[in-house]
């Protein structure tokens, strides 16, 4: 067997090796990598920095993969010399390894501009997992970070640091951001978005020196200003690693020179990836690497034939929550620009057409059409006939048409180079029916995920038993499934509704998504977040239930339905004093005062001297009880005390939908616990805890969660379920839908049967939320917003009549 040595354990080298392994085995493979990790997805480092992913999440080839293919993996060894006569390479560990074929995939390094003080402690580059880890160690709230370079890498670093809480400033030499991918208009839009999100940007300036005694204290700029800094990230560009090639006398210019077959100037030596210069171009993006790797694999295995003819440079990414796509030559010189811009929607699109063909495209804010443009660019198709529909495609006659129009050779997943043909083959030959199976099988959409919807479309059109795994999206304003959205909110540390809407939504929101987001933030941050009252329904702004005439109903909390003569007297006095039109006993063992005017609410609450019953909100309603063992001849458990205690543990918390509870002392079920969201049913010697019951729009008998011996155990089981529901239900999903959706077995497994640590974690988060929860009616004394309850009286009195007939009588 011939010996193949691969120098470089990164994305290009390993993608190429994967292709080589598809041919008949003919090599004994050794891979050298100077990093100490297996091959990982370098383009996801920004997600690691932003805390969205862990290092394990971005592994592309596991140790098992290397073992399975008998690859001798040598990590932590840098190859420092190559002897092309003896055909050996020498490593930093002194090892000399012979080769029959040598594959150079040495990648690129951060380019360091000539700045004084780059050696100081606190100066970083952002290229590797180790760089990222080092940055994460330093980053944190209040840390002042300066990023040198406003290109793709610099902005990704800036975003990650900002998510970590740093105070970030980007210093960029050019007058516009990401000028390699975006024209000034596109860059301007991005600039606005970044500043909106609190990242400072200084354009048209260079960093002249890094200041500080040993470690970074600040930077000096070309405009003679200085600024404080605790850490500096240099992301001013990349440079192909050609030192090794030069040592071996292999021809190199900016990169290692290769022909269309990926052969270097020396026989048996090949090169691939960012270290390569092909037809005068060095690529810094991922898609070309895969194309090069396929060609190289054919060449090196003796199947020389397919030629690499260059790649249309294209980048599709999300910067600071903004979708950006850039491809081809978008300069307007000798080209016909076609544009669309809507500042309010945050969308900018520009296409450049030359000689009836698309030559370049920039999309900011909406990249849904990028595949169409990419294909036109790749195929150099004549688009003269479609000029009217360049920016907005004509409505497709049927949903599958877009898919049907794609040729089999069209790349669906640009990251991993998976074509439509490959996906269709997987569907037919391997019985793929779901997106997860497709990912498993072809790896399509496992990298950046931007082709997910296209993959879904293909599956829907082709797979005989397609199963849509998509979860329900909150609403069109924030087009994410709720579980996904919770992950985003958590990992991105988003703490206000408006921030979520601006970064991941349409910036506006509506009456559906705003309350949902309000709830999610409250739950995720255990109440430690910036509550935005404008995002909540009027009931939650004034803590009472609006009625058909605009008045409100007031239901005080009566724990467990156990009241006293004193409470009843106060309720009666309030009813008299405020001339309450109706006083009613509710179906929940509570008392409702109907027809209260908004402006009277604070005084009504004060006069009642009772806490809010949360009857107006998606929150903890009541715990209905029977008299249990205290008075009843049949009672087996003290349901009254248990119910009162349960209500105290949960009161003032918010939930995805209302939560009604009950505790009964025996299976006669007088307080109807088996049709409540959570019910405690006393039996001889213990309690049954039941969940997911309903007696409203639908009637459903609750499922048994667990049977326990003591009241404390029953309460804890309720708490586990309660918090689990809070964290995992979709907004406005009642427990009875939630339990049916998940299945009671799963609910049990993840609550009462969960490992100790998981149970403790649930209870801990519940306790944290509870510690922040307050009786909302306290706002009667200290309003949250100005004029929360009262109408405004104009500063200027209305002196003359005409606008109003009865002005004279109006006490203004």
């Amino acid at each position: 067997m011939k010996r193949l040595v691969v120098v470089g354990n990164g994305m290009a080298g390993m993608a190429c090796l994967e292709q080589i392994l598809k041919y008949a085995p003919q090599f004994e493979v050794t891979v050298f990598g100077d990093e100490t990790h297996v091959n990982y997805n370098r383009i996801m480092l920004s997600s690691v920095l932003a805390g969205e992913k862990s290092a394990d999440d971005i592994v592309l080839n596991s140790v098992e993969w290397y073992e399975r293919h008998d690859i001798n993996l040598r990590v932590g060894v840098r190859i420092v010399d190559v002897d092309t006569h003896a055909k050996t390479v020498t490593g930093t560990d002194g090892s000399v390894t012979p080769y029959d074929a040598l594959l150079l995939a040495t990648g690129s390094s951060a380019w360091l501009p000539p700045i004084d003080g780059l050696k100081k402690d606190g100066v970083f580059v952002f290229r590797t997992l180790d760089d990222t880890r080092a940055l994460l160690e330093r980053a944190g709230p209040g840390v002042k970070a300066v990023v040198i370079g406003g290109g793709l890498l610099g902005l990704e670093a800036a975003r990650g640091l900002q998510v970590q809480g740093c105070d970030v400033t980007v210093v960029h030499l050019m007058s516009t951001l990401m000028e390699r991918q975006l024209d000034p208009d596109g860059g301007y839009y991005l600039l606005g978005k970044m500043e909106e999100l609190g990242v400072h940007v200084l354009l048209g300036r260079t960093t002249t020196a890094i200041l500080g005694n040993g470690h970074v204290e600040g930077v000096a700029l070309s405009d003679d200003t200085c600024m404080e800094a605790d850490l500096v990230v240099v992301a001013a560009g990349i440079r192909p690693n050609i030192e090794l090639a030069l040592k071996g006398g292999i021809a190199a210019n900016r990169g290692i020179l290769v022909n269309d077959y990926m052969e270097t100037s020396h026989p048996d030596i090949y090169a691939v990836g960012e270290c390569v210069e092909h037809r005068g171009v060095c690529y810094g993006l991922v898609a070309p690497l895969y194309e090069q790797g396929k060609v190289l694999a054919a060449t090196i295995t003796g199947n020389r034939g397919p030629a690499y003819e260059g790649t249309v440079p294209a980048a599709k990414l999300k910067i600071m929550g903004v979708d950006v796509f850039s491809a081809g030559d978008w300069s307007e010189q000798n080209a016909e620009p076609v544009r669309f811009e809507d500042r309010a929607l945050g969308i900018y699109k520009k296409l450049t057409v030359r000689g009836g063909k698309l030559v370049g495209a920039i999309l900011v804010g909406d990249t849904s059409d990028s595949h169409r443009y990419m294909e036109w660019l790749r195929s150099s198709a004549d688009i003269s006939g479609q000029r009217k529909h360049l920016l907005f495609p004509p409505p497709a006659a049927d949903a599958g048409l877009d898919i049907a129009e794609m040729p089999d050779s069209e790349t669906v997943c640009g990251c991993l180079g998976v074509t439509k043909g490959t996906i269709i083959a997987a569907i037919h030959e391997q019985g793929v029916n779901t997106l997860s199976q497709l990912k498993e099988c072809t790896r399509a959409s496992t990298s950046c995920g931007s082709c997910t919807s296209l993959c879904q479309g293909l599956l829907r059109a082709v797979a005989p038993e397609f199963e849509d795994e998509r979860k329900t999206v909150v609403c069109a304003c924030v087009p994410f499934a709720e579980d996904k959205l919770r992950d985003i909110l958590r990992s991105q540390k988003l703490r206000s509704v408006q921030e979520v809407l601006e970064i991941y939504g349409n910036g506006v929101g509506c009456e559906i998504c705003k309350p949902a987001l309000s709830y999610m933030l409250d739950m995720l941050w255990c109440g430690d977040h910036e509550e935005d009252r404008s995002a909540r329904f009027i009931n939650d702004r004034v803590h009472a239930n609006i009625q058909k005439d605009g008045t409100f109903s007031v239901i005080p909390r009566i724990h467990g339905g156990v009241t006293s003569a004193d409470q009843l007297r106060r309720i009666a006095d309030v009813a008299d004093k405020y001339k309450v039109p109706m006083v009613k006993i509710t179906g929940s063992q509570r008392i409702d005062l109907l027809g209260i005017k908004k402006a009277d609410l604070p005084r009504v609450w004060a006069d009642l001297g009772m806490p809010s019953g949360q009857a107006y909100t998606k929150g903890v309603r009541m715990v209905k009880t029977c008299v249990g063992t205290d008075f009843c001849r049949f009672g087996t458990q003290d349901s009254t005390s248990a119910g009162v205690e349960m209500e105290r543990r949960f009161e003032n918390l918010f939930t995805p939908h209302k939560v009604k509870m009950a505790a009964v002392g025996c299976p006669r079920n007088c307080a109807e616990a088996t049709v409540k969201d959570i019910g405690l049913v006393g039996v001889e010697g213990g309690w049954q805890v039941v969940v997911g019951g309903a007696a409203g729009k639908s009637v459903r008998k609750a499922d048994l969660l667990t049977t326990v011996e003591t009241t404390q155990q029953a309460l804890e089981a309720s708490e586990l379920f309660f918090q689990y529901y809070r964290e995992n239900a979709n907004y406005l999903e009642r427990t009875y839908d939630f339990v049916e959706r998940l299945g009671i077995e799963k609910v049990r497994k993840e609550t009462v049967y969960a490992p100790d640590a998981a149970r403790e974690a649930l209870l801990d988060r519940l306790r944290k939320s509870k510690a922040r929860a307050r009786d909302a009616w306290q706002e009667g004394i200290e309003p949250k917003t100005p004029a929360q309850f009262i109408p405004l009286i104009p500063i200027d009195p209305l002196v003359e009549s005409g606008f109003s007939r009865i002005t004279a009588e109006t006490p203004v």
């Binding site: 009252r533 100005p786 009865i806 006490p811």
Partner: protein
């Protein structure tokens, strides 16, 4: 041409961004909204004013959730455009307009422009079309009297 009487209403800070408040002017209840910082007008918050009565069942529009330049009535989720006064949902149309009033901000105070006594219907503010479903303007809000009494 524009015959408005401008009335100083309240400091801008009294209306939080994306919320509305009721203002009593004469016997009329006007809903004054703060749409939040506006991209078009620079950094300052943008204010809009309409009658505080949903054309559907008279719901208090000031208590609705603001979405863009519209408000969703808290009673039955009718959506009303605050710039034009037109109903956008359930169906778009000019059949049920809400009167709109011009606003401006001076020295941190929001002003509302009222149609002058002798000026008839102001341009762009068809206030005479507004009012209760019975078509009788100025009869007042069903619960306005209560609010006013409490605030006095």
């Amino acid at each position: 041409m524009n015959s408005y009487r401008w009335l100083r209403v309240t400091p801008t800070g009294n209306i939080p961004p994306r919320e509305g408040r009721a203002v009593l002017i004469g016997d009329r209840e006007i809903a004054l909204f703060n749409l939040g910082p506006s991209a078009a007008s620079g950094a300052g918050d943008q204010f809009l004013a309409t009658d505080n009565q949903c054309p559907h069942k008279g719901g208090p529009l000031c208590d609705g959730i603001v979405t863009g330049a519209s408000v969703v009535c808290p009673l039955h989720a009718w959506k009303v455009n605050l710039q034009t006064g037109e109903v956008e949902r359930p169906s778009h149309g000019k059949d049920h307009c809400v009167a709109t009033y011009p606003t401006r901000v001076e020295e941190g105070v929001v002003l509302i422009g009222l149609p002058a006594a002798n000026a008839g219907t102001p341009e762009g503010a068809p206030y005479e079309e507004a009012g209760t479903p019975e078509g009788a303007p100025y009869v007042g809000h069903p619960f306005k009297g209560a609010n006013r009494g409490a605030a006095a």
